[in-house]
C-alpha cells in the first residue's frame, strides 16, 4: 500500500488485521538503520540549507566583501569525488560477493576522505595567511564555519567507516557488512552532494550572487 492509500484509509469502517508480513528481526533492524540514516540526512540537509540561506541573506547587504577564491578547493573536490567513487565500488563489490575488491574500495574511500580533510585544513591555512584575511569579514567567517561543519560531518562518517573497516577482516557477517558499506556509501554520496552545492554556490566564482541577482533579490 502506498503512502497516499495508507493516509486515505478509513480505519473505522472495517476491523480485521492488515495483511502485513512480519519481517525477520535482522531485516527489520536493517530497515530501521536505513530509515534512521535517511532521517539524519534530512536533518543534515536542513542544517546546510540554512547555512546557505544565511550566507545568501548576508550577501544581499551592500557592504558584502567576497572572500578570495582558493584553487586548492578544486583539488579537494576532486579527491572527495574519488572517495565517493571508491565507496561506490566497495558497494558494488560487496553486492557481487567480491570481498577483496570491497576491502580495497572501502580503504581507498577512507584514505581519500582523510586526504580531503587535510586538503581542507591546508585551505584554511592558505586563507589564514593571505592579506585578505579578516575574521570580521562575514564571507571569510562563513567559509571557515561551513567547511568546518562539513568536515566534522565527514569525521563523524569516518567513525562509522572505521567501525565497518575493522570488521571486514577474517570471518564476518556478510549481510551486516553489506549494509554498513551501503550506509557509508549513501552518507558519503550525500556529503559529496552537499559539498558540490556549497562549492558551486559559495566558494567558486560568484554563483550565488548571480542566482540572487536573477531572482531580483540582490
Amino acid at each position: 500500500m502506498n503512502l497516499f492509500q495508507q493516509l486515505t484509509a478509513k480505519p473505522w469502517l472495517a476491523a480485521g488485521a492488515a495483511p502485513e508480513d512480519l519481517r525477520h528481526p535482522d531485516e527489520a533492524h536493517r530497515a530501521a538503520k536505513k530509515s534512521a540514516l535517511w532521517v539524519f540526512l534530512a536533518v543534515v540537509g536542513v542544517l546546510f540549507m540554512l547555512l546557505v540561506f544565511a550566507y545568501g541573506g548576508r550577501m544581499t547587504y551592500g557592504d558584502w566583501r567576497p572572500a578570495p577564491q582558493l584553487k586548492l578547493l578544486w583539488a579537494n573536490t576532486f579527491v572527495l569525488i574519488l572517495s565517493s567513487v571508491a565507496l561506490q565500488w566497495a558497494q558494488v563489490s560487496v553486492r557481487r560477493g567480491q570481498m577483496d575488491a570491497m576491502r580495497v574500495g572501502l580503504l581507498a574511500g577512507g584514505a581519500f576522505t582523510v586526504v580531503f580533510l587535510f586538503g581542507q585544513l591546508l585551505a584554511w591555512r592558505q586563507l589564514g595567511t593571505m592579506g585578505y584575511f579578516d575574521v570580521t569579514n562575514p564571507a571569510i567567517a562563513f567559509f571557515y564555519l561551513i567547511t568546518g561543519i562539513h568536515g566534522l560531518h565527514l569525521v563523524g562518517g569516518l567513525v562509522a567507516w572505521g567501525r565497518t573497516a575493522a570488521r571486514v577482516w577474517g570471518k564476518f557477517d556478510v549481510a551486516a557488512i553489506r549494509q554498513s558499506v551501503e550506509l557509508c556509501t549513501l552518507y558519503w554520496h550525500f556529503l559529496l552532494g552537499v559539498w558540490l552545492v556549497l562549492f558551486g554556490l559559495l566558494f567558486t566564482g560568484n554563483n550565488l550572487d548571480l542566482l540572487l541577482k536573477l531572482c531580483g533579490i540582490r
Binding site: L7, A9, A17
Partner: protein, 591 residues
Amino acid sequence: MSYVAHDASILVPPAEVEEVELYHPKTFVGKYIWSQDAKIIAIQYAITAIGIGVVALVLSWLMRLQLGYPDTFSFIDPSNYLQFVSLHGMIMVIYLLTALFLGGFGNYLIPLMVGARDMVFPYVNMVSYWVYLFAVLLLGASFFVPGGPTGAGWTLYPPQAILAGTPGATWGIILMLVSLAFFIIGFTMGGLNYVVTVLQARTRGMTLMRMPLTVWGIFTATILALLAFPALFVSAIMMLLDLLLGTSFFMPAIVSMGEQAGHTGGSPVLFQHLFWFFGHPEVYIVALPAFGIVSDLISVHARKNIFGYRMMVWAIVIIGALSFVVWAHHMYVSGMNPYFGFFFATTTLIIAIPTALKVYNWVLTLWRGNIHLTVPMLFAIGFVFTFINGGLTGLFLGNPTVSMPLSDTMFVVAHFHMVMAIAPILVVFGAIYHWYPKITGRMLDDTLGKIHFWITFVGSYGIYYPMHYLGMMGVPRRYYAITGTDFITESAHSVNVGITIAALIVGAAQLVFFYNLVRSYFKGKPSGDNPWNATTLEWQTPDTPPKHGNFGATLPLVYRWAYDYSVPGADQDFIPQNVPPKEAAGSGGKT
C-alpha cells in the same frame, strides 16, 4: 519462539520468526540508571524536566513579586529581573515542555502504543537522555558563574546578548549557548529513535491510520523538531564564534560602553530569521503532542470515537508543514519588505483553518458523548477552552497592523502563555493523571486532582486574562519597573498586584499535585491493567507497570483502530485494538 495461530478469515499471517532479543540488565544501576528501557528513560526525562521546570516556576514567582510589589524586595535588582525572565522562558519552552512531551511522553507511549518492545535503538536512546541531563546541568551551572545566567531574554537577540551591560554577557551566555547545542545533539538522538520506531517497529496490523492520535502528534512534532532545531544550533554556534573569536555573523559595527567594539558588518536580523525559523515550529513542537494527547483523553473519557479521525491526522500534518512558513510574524517590527509581512500574515492566518478544524472535532466528539468528568477529562476540556482563548488573540498578533502597536507589550505575554504555556501544561497534567496508573499501577487521588485542576485552571485565567488589558494599555514586557509614565494608570498597578497573588496561588497549588504524585505512589488505590477501559495497546499489557519488553511473550496483533468506543451491539462500550473481530461478541456490523 512465539507462534500465533493462523486464521485465514482475518488475513493475519503467522509470526514467522523469533522476536528481537532485548538487552536485559542484571543490576540496579543497569536497570534504573544506565537504563536502555524506553519506559525508564521516559521517567528519567520527565523527572529531570519537571525538576528544572520547578526552578523556572520559582523564577516566575520572583518576577511577579517584583512586578506586583516594586521597591519591596532588595534581592531583586534590574539585572536579576532580566535573568529571571530569560531563564524562565528558555527553561519552560525547551528544557521542560519539549523534553517532557517528546523525551517523556514520547519515550513512554510510542513503543507501547504502536506495539513495539522498545525503541529501535535503545542505546542511542539512553545516550540521548544523558546528553539532555548534561545540557540541563550546564544551564543550571550558569546560576553559579561570575555574572550569573544570561539576561538577554529567552530569544537571545544579538547584539545585546553578548555585549557588556547585559547581565551574564560572558559566562552566562556561553553556558546558555553550549547547553542549547548539547540539548539539540541529545534531542536529535532521541528524535531519530521516535521517528524510526513509528515508521519501522509497529506491530502487525498497526497501520498508520490505526495509530492513536497521541502517536501522530508526537511523531509529527518530532519531525518538526528534527528539522527546526538545526536553525537554533547554527545560530548558537555562530553567536558563540562572534563572542569568542570575534567574527561578525550577527554583530554589526557598534559602539559599546562608549567604545568601538571590534565587530563590523554582521546582521542582527539574520539571527532573528534563524531563531524564529526554529522558534515558530517550536510552538507546534509543544502543541502537536498536546493536540494528539488531548484527542485521546477526550475520546476515552467521553466513551466515543474521535470525530473526524482522518481530518485530525491531516490537520496535524498540515499544521506541522505550515509552521515552517510563518516565522517572520515574530519580526514585524524588525523591519522587512511589506510584501513579506503580507505573506507571513497570510500563512499565519491560514493555520487557523486546520487548527479550528481540530477544535470543532474535539467539541463534536464531546457532543452527546457519555462524558465522564474524570480529572484527565477536566484538564482536557480546560485545554480546549484555553487553546481557543489563546488562539483568538493570535489572530490579533498575526496581522501586522494590529500586531505592531501590541508588540513587546504584556498582550503578547498573555497570548503566548495562554496558547503555549497554560494550554500544553493542562494537557501534561491531564496526561499524567491518565497514564499514572499504567506507569505506577496506582490511581492518583481524585479529590486532590480536582482541587489541583480547579485552582490551576481558574487561577491561570486570573493571571493572564487581566494581562491582555495591561498590554492593550501599553504596559511593556521585560521591564523591571514602570515609572514616570502617564499612560499607565494607578489601576494597572492594582491589576499587577492581583496577577501576582493569582500566580503565587497557582504555583502553590502545584504542591498539591506533587503531594498527590508521591502519596499515591505508595498509598494510591491499585489501578488494575485498564482502569479507564481504554482501547489502545498500552492498556492491554499483561503487567502493570509493563515490564521490559512491554507485551510479555507475544506481541499484540492489531485488528482495529484506536477508537472503538460505544460500538453499537458490542458487549462492552470499548473494544481494544488487539481484539479480533470474532471475539468482539455481538458486535453488530462492525467487524
